[in-house]
């Protein structure tokens, strides 16, 4: 494994939404990513302000598709010199103004939240130091035993499932989720070129790089758009086993140019 980044992420305090279902947190690895996300730790805290005598709600971790919305969260670094892949994105809802939309897949892990039967005495959080019994959203195991992997184009979702809307009341339930992860570099091969016009290098040309599964352009995705510099050069990378294609567009003095690049770039 070639770990290129090790990071942490934490949500803002997320209020309940007065509903029986609520998406709380998403770990998303964009299709153009150059890393696999290895989730090391995923836990939460919950504070319930109002007494609840019925069953507490549960949080479920599952794979997800069709993710959108929410706030994009900042990524903390274990090592300041490392850079996270920009396609690795963490989302949390900004309460009612920006909920997360996602379609939940198979459940990986379930965890009861918290409640207070009556509003008396101290409300205790659980600390991550109590690793075995804290509110794990993934199974607690010795690091490195089982790598929960989120590949490019995949996402992981944490959502609330409440028995009644009252058990996820906005004026009562608050959640805070946190995650730590590694980014494992995916093997790639380099592609590069120089844009010229009448034999001279062109700066300001736009090179569009496409990546696909095969030469039929199955599952084609936009890998990158690059604006050439003074020497007209550009460079990108394609995942090993995939196929790349590049083409160029350029405008100068109202004249538009285009040029095919080298299609079916393979290692």
């Amino acid at each position: 494994m070639a770990v290129s980044f090790r990071g942490t992420c934490a949500t803002l305090s997320v209020l309940g939404n007065d509903a029986t279902a609520q998406n709380l947190f998403v770990i998303e690895n964009g299709i153009a990513s150059r890393v696999n996300i290895i989730v090391r730790r995923l836990t939460f805290g919950a504070d319930s302000l109002v007494a609840l005598a019925s069953v507490m709600n549960v949080l479920k971790t599952c794979r997800a598709t069709g993710v959108s919305g929410g706030l994009i969260l900042e990524k903390g670094k274990f090592l300041g010199s490392q850079t996270s892949d920009p396609a690795v994105v963490f989302r949390a809802p900004a309460n009612e103004t920006a909920p997360i939309t996602a379609t939940a897949g198979d459940t990986l892990w379930t965890q009861f939240a918290s409640r207070r039967h009556t509003a008396v005495e101290q409300q205790l959080p659980e600390d991550d130091g109590e690793r075995v019994k804290t509110r794990n959203l993934l199974p607690f195991m010795t690091d490195g035993i089982a790598d929960l992997t989120v590949r490019p184009g995949e996402a992981l979702l944490v959502r609330v499932v409440a028995a009644t809307a009252a058990s996820n009341a906005q004026n009562s339930m608050q959640y805070a989720l946190r995650c730590s992860w590694d980014e494992d570099e995916i093997a790639t091969f380099a592609i590069s070129g120089t844009v010229t016009l009448s034999g001279s290098p062109v700066s300001g040309a736009i090179v569009t790089v496409i990546e696909a599964d095969d030469i039929s352009m199955t599952n084609a995705v936009l890998r990158q758009t690059i604006t050439t510099g003074a020497g007209g050069t550009w460079a990108s990378s394609i995942r090993t086993g995939k196929v790349g294609a590049a083409f160029v567009q350029y405008e100068s003095g109202g004249t538009y140019y285009t040029a095919p690049g080298s299609p079916y770039l393979q290692q």
Binding site: C62, W109, Q111, H117, L124, K133, T149
Partner: protein, 177 residues
């Protein structure tokens, strides 16, 4: 097919009886092994219980479980697929839904854990992870061979210790050969 997988029951309610099967995991493959890496149970009790808490026992079984709800299996890595001969069963097909199995006959008890209870109905209620196997199984192989299974089940002193106001969630994580 090798890899790590996990499954969760839906929220299961107590059945007001002294025994209740919560989850089974079985391996019916002739050649492939299953290693259990973690099983936890969490519990919420909304009614006062001043008698002893129910025990949550993990047992090997006599024969292979039947019935219940076959649970979906989560993939730790989408490059892997779980063996269809690894089957996880819960007691209900929806959160808080009616119980219908699974049917299994416990044999040797391998671990046990008291559940939780509220002696009086006041204050905060926590539902921490409770281990249904020693946590060392993440490193020390706990093996299910062909036609072997594990059962997580309730053993209550009396039926009133396991009322419908008890709620359980069981999680299991395993590795396949």
């Amino acid at each position: 097919m090798a890899g790590f997988f996990s499954a969760s029951t839906f929220r299961e309610v107590g059945n007001a009886a002294t025994t209740q099967n919560l989850l089974t995991i079985e391996n019916i493959d002739a050649t492939k092994l299953v290693w259990i890496r973690r099983i936890t149970v969490q519990m919420d009790t909304t009614a006062v219980l001043t008698a002893v808490s129910p025990l949550i026992k993990t047992s090997r079984t006599t024969g292979v479980p039947t019935g219940g709800t076959t649970l979906s299996k989560g993939l730790f890595n989408t490059a892997n697929s779980s063996n269809a001969n690894t089957i996880v069963r819960g007691s209900t097909a929806s959160d808080g839904g009616a119980n219908s199995g699974p049917t299994a006959t416990p044999s040797t008890v391998v671990w046990e854990q008291f559940g939780t209870r509220i002696h009086t109905a006041v204050g905060q209620v926590l539902a921490p992870d409770m281990s249904c196997l020693p946590i060392i199984v993440d490193l020390q192989d706990f093996v299910l061979r062909q036609n072997e299974a594990l059962l997580v089940h309730i053993v209550a002193a009396i039926g009133t210790s396991n009322p419908a106001t008890n709620h359980y969630a069981v999680n299991v994580c395993w590795e396949e050969d």
